[in-house]
């Protein structure tokens, strides 16, 4: 999932890498309350059209969303105190507080007011750039994004040696630099820099936040949407507040077939949260309530889970490495945040270390700027190419 004004989208546009990708707007934001899935009104049009909100609530929400964009003294008085408290004092009522905390700011009930307001503003800034919600999803899935960067790299002469995992590195003791890597077939590949995922780095060189932070994830294939509408092609971001005290708040994304991630008639669902236990402990109670699974007690008209997978992974944003050769650069795996701020910041900082003089991802020239006319005589080329 990408914020329409996040650093990944900005980078894709700036570098022209976006030319290789296509996106879907997340079409709606949903939340789960009292065993019920509801749509969260987030744009002006949504608020007007909403059937869950009373006229008074609509007016209050409009007024709040318009006014919260500006910094006021009143807000500052709440610095350090929970966002929920601030909202309560705005006389917004339970409904609106729920939407604002969980679905718009996407924070927890004890998040401080200044952080809650910052998240709310970010949400509002992203809204309306491409559509009705602040999120974009790449057609065919997020795996397209690295492919897009790889194509750009290949066009500029980058070479890939696929299926050559690295077995070990050769380090020059004196300079403390990595000279080469040896792949699993014993082939030596010389290098002046070595960028590697943290999974390759030995545990004693890693400084991991204690206790280690994990992410719990579940992937489901279902036979229907959690909130069916006339259109089967909805891409939904679902915010799920803790279902019991001490349980995590969960983010869920439901993808329809037009995202090209699942066959017609099915939906692909991702659930993610910070781990409090195993992924199964954290997420299966929710899955059992929202979907029909073999463990569900009743036969309500909820979508059925056709396939599911639960797993945990280390929270990539919490890993730090040390005692490495000076030209070895480590990048971390995914973290639990929405958007990809951490990955982009890290990529840029590694790039700066390797090539301090160069611009990071400069715009690629447009091939259409080089024009060869079919009618021109042999060798006589009409070139509008400005620079290499």
């Amino acid at each position: 999932m990408m914020y329409s004004r996040g650093s990944l989208v900005d980078l894709l546009i700036k570098s022209n890498v976006s030319r290789y990708a296509e996106f879907k707007n997340v079409s709606r934001i949903l939340t789960y309350r009292h065993d019920n899935v509801e749509q969260v009104p987030c744009s002006r049009a949504d608020v007007f059209a909403s059937r869950q909100l009373s006229v008074v609530e609509k007016r209050k929400l409009m007024r709040f969303l318009t006014s919260c964009v500006e910094d006021t003294e009143e807000q500052q008085a709440y610095n350090g105190r929970p966002y929920l408290e601030f909202l309560r004092d705005q006389q917004l009522g339970d409904n609106l507080q729920h939407f604002l905390v969980h679905s718009i700011a996407m924070v927890t009930e004890d998040t401080p007011t200044e952080a809650g307001l910052a998240s709310t503003r970010h949400f509002l800034r992203c809204l309306g750039r491409y559509g009705n919600t602040p999120f974009l999803f790449p057609v065919y899935g997020l795996g397209e994004i690295p492919q897009c960067f790889c194509r750009m790299c290949a066009v500029f002469g980058g070479i890939y040696c696929l299926r050559h995992s690295v077995h070990c590195v050769i380090v020059d003791q004196e300079s403390n630099r990595c000279k080469a890597v040896i792949d699993i077939r014993g082939q030596r590949i010389s290098c002046s820099h070595f960028v590697v995922e943290d999974g390759y780095v030995a545990a004693e060189r890693k400084k991991v936040a204690t206790p280690t932070r994990f992410i719990s994830r579940a992937v489901l294939i279902t036979d229907g949407s959690v909130l069916p509408t006339d259109s089967e092609q909805q891409v939904s971001m679902v915010t799920l507040p803790p279902i019991a005290a001490g349980s995590p708040s969960v983010k869920m994304v439901e993808l329809c077939p037009s995202t090209m991630t699942c066959p017609p008639g099915t939906y692909l669902v991702h659930l993610t949260c910070q781990s409090t236990g195993s992924a199964y402990q954290d997420l299966s109670p929710l899955v059992t309530r929202m979907f029909h699974t073999p463990e569900s007690h009743d036969q309500g008209k909820r979508p059925s889970v056709l396939w599911c997978l639960y797993f945990n992974m280390v929270d990539g944003s919490a890993v730090d490495c040390h005692n490495l050769p000076s030209n070895v650069h480590v990048c971390s795996g995914p973290d639990g945040e929405l958007g990809h701020e951490h990955a982009i910041t890290q990529a840029e900082s590694i790039f700066r270390k390797i090539l301090p003089q160069e611009e990071f991802c400069p715009p690629a020239p447009n091939p259409e700027d080089i024009i060869y006319d079919a009618d021109t005589a042999e060798g006589d080329v009409l070139s509008r190419q400005t620079e290499e």
């Binding site: 022209n16 296509e22 309306g128 559509g131 290949a154 002469g157 690629a364 006319d373």
Partner: protein, 207 residues
């Protein structure tokens, strides 16, 4: 009124069969024994006055860098409407690879109606051919190529003809009514803007 059509065409085939040479010959009217990889260009653009009221802008996408070894990413294939599949008549192994390339193509891109995109088979380096080559008509029929040509980038043989043949098939498909592309996809900028209407922000509200 003049209409302008934009077609993305892929040029695929094994290492050294002459893909870059064919593009250079067709677009830039040159041939060389040595090619360095063209750095920084996704495609070569050929502009054709097709008939009285049609201009065709043909984007010829060459294979870059790592992609030489087959298994192209979908990023390269997306929105292609046709392909030239090339082999080298003097190297049998490159002909054996033709079906692998065709399968890879068909598995990663289709027309809106789910049918494969038209592909023309090029038997390149025909100038190096001593004796008459076997005809490939039934091979093409059996394997879904719309046609085949013996080409030479060196002597400029049949390249224009092959391209015209491919364009004709692309146009036939464009004219037959098909289901509209999924209108909900958007591009953030870049080439795709030229090929289709895309979502603008006009429909969405702002605070």
């Amino acid at each position: 009124m003049q209409q302008e059509l934009l077609f993305k065409v892929l040029v695929i085939g094994d290492l050294g069969v002459g893909k870059t040479s064919i593009i250079k010959r067709y677009v830039h009217q040159i041939f060389s024994q040595h090619y360095r990889a063209t750095i920084g260009v996704d495609f070569a653009l050929k502009v054709l006055q097709w008939d009285h009221d049609t201009v065709i802008r043909l984007q010829l996408w060459d294979i870059a860098g790592q992609e030489r070894y087959g298994n192209m990413t979908r990023v390269y294939y997306r929105e292609a409407v046709g392909a030239l599949v090339v082999f080298d008549v003097s190297r049998a192994s490159t002909f054996d690879a033709v079906l692998k390339w065709k399968d890879d193509l068909d598995s990663k891109v289709t027309l809106n109606n789910g049918r494969p995109v038209p592909a023309v088979l090029l038997a390149n380096k025909s100038d190096q051919l001593g004796s008459q080559q076997p005809k490939l008509d039934s091979f093409c029929r059996d394997n879904g190529f719309v046609s085949w040509f013996e080409t030479s980038a060196k002597e400029n043989t049949n390249i224009e003809e092959a391209a015209r043949c491919l364009i004709k098939h692309i146009l036939d498909i464009e004219e037959s009514p098909m289901s509209e592309r999924d209108p909900g996809s958007l591009t953030l900028s870049g080439y795709a803007n030229a090929t289709k209407d895309h979502l603008k922000c006009s429909s969405c509200s702002k605070w």
